[in-house]
């Protein structure tokens, strides 16, 4: 079973909106025990968002959620930062590389994101970007019409 990196937007949209492809992915990673790659950077981003939009308690619940994904691989800053020099010039936005590096460090097979901008950058030749809908299709599930 291929490992995947879920961008922070997939967790946030998937937890907040049940009727989305992102939410279905969160269900599928649990049901199918799909290996999921995570990083400290991802935790910081997702928790920061929930803390500022839904409060500290919900952010705490999200932390537990992220930590209890059964088949998760954690890539630390010391590990993903090894690849920064390699990716920093082929990713358009300077703040995106940590996620790309983490995906690369763990040799994840797919980087699932709702961010179309990423998929147009030069780095697309090195990373298998897929939208939540495309990933569901890869699993053999008919996605919802909307992209997210």
């Amino acid at each position: 079973m291929p490992g995947i990196y879920l961008d922070s937007n997939v967790y946030i949209i998937g937890l907040l909106h049940k009727e989305t492809n992102a939410a279905r992915i969160l269900g599928e990673i649990l049901d199918r025990d799909i290996p999921v790659v995570q990083s400290d950077y991802l935790f910081d981003e997702v928790l920061h968002w929930f803390k500022s939009h839904e409060g500290k308690d919900m952010a705490g619940l999200v932390r537990t959620y992220l930590l209890t994904i059964p088949n998760r691989e954690y890539v630390s800053r010391a590990e993903w930062s090894l690849f920064l020099d390699e990716f920093v010039n082929i990713v358009g936005d300077k703040d995106d590389p940590p996620h790309i590096c983490c995906n690369h460090a763990a040799s994840a097979d797919a980087f699932v994101t709702t961010n179309r901008r990423l998929t147009k950058m030069r780095v697309k030749d090195r990373v298998n970007f897929v939208s939540p809908g495309e990933y569901l299709a890869l699993l053999g599930i008919k996605p919802m019409d909307k992209e997210w």
Partner: protein, 86 residues
């Protein structure tokens, strides 16, 4: 690693099933099976709680706003990170 010891009473039929997966090599021990099952259940319960408490209809505008907010957070985190390593 510090662990809490919890005894659980399983019906014989369930204990046999756990043993089956341990013998099959899917889990190293019965403890590992139980740890996995507990983690998975917590994850499932939280997902359910989120969807019951917060779930709301969504549209392109809300998703765009989330992406925009993430972008700001990402930039801030990156700036902090860059400051930390420089």
């Amino acid at each position: 690693m510090a662990t809490g010891v919890t005894s659980i009473r399983l019906p014989e039929k369930d204990a046999v099933l756990v043993e089956h997966f341990v013998n099959k090599g899917d889990f190293k021990s019965r403890s590992e099976f139980i740890r996995y099952a507990v983690k998975k259940t917590i994850n499932e319960m939280i997902l359910r709680e989120f969807h019951e408490r917060l779930s709301q209809p969504t549209d392109g505008k809300k998703v765009a706003k989330i992406q925009e907010d993430i972008k700001k957070i990402r930039k801030q985190l990156w700036d902090d990170y860059a400051r930390h390593i420089s």
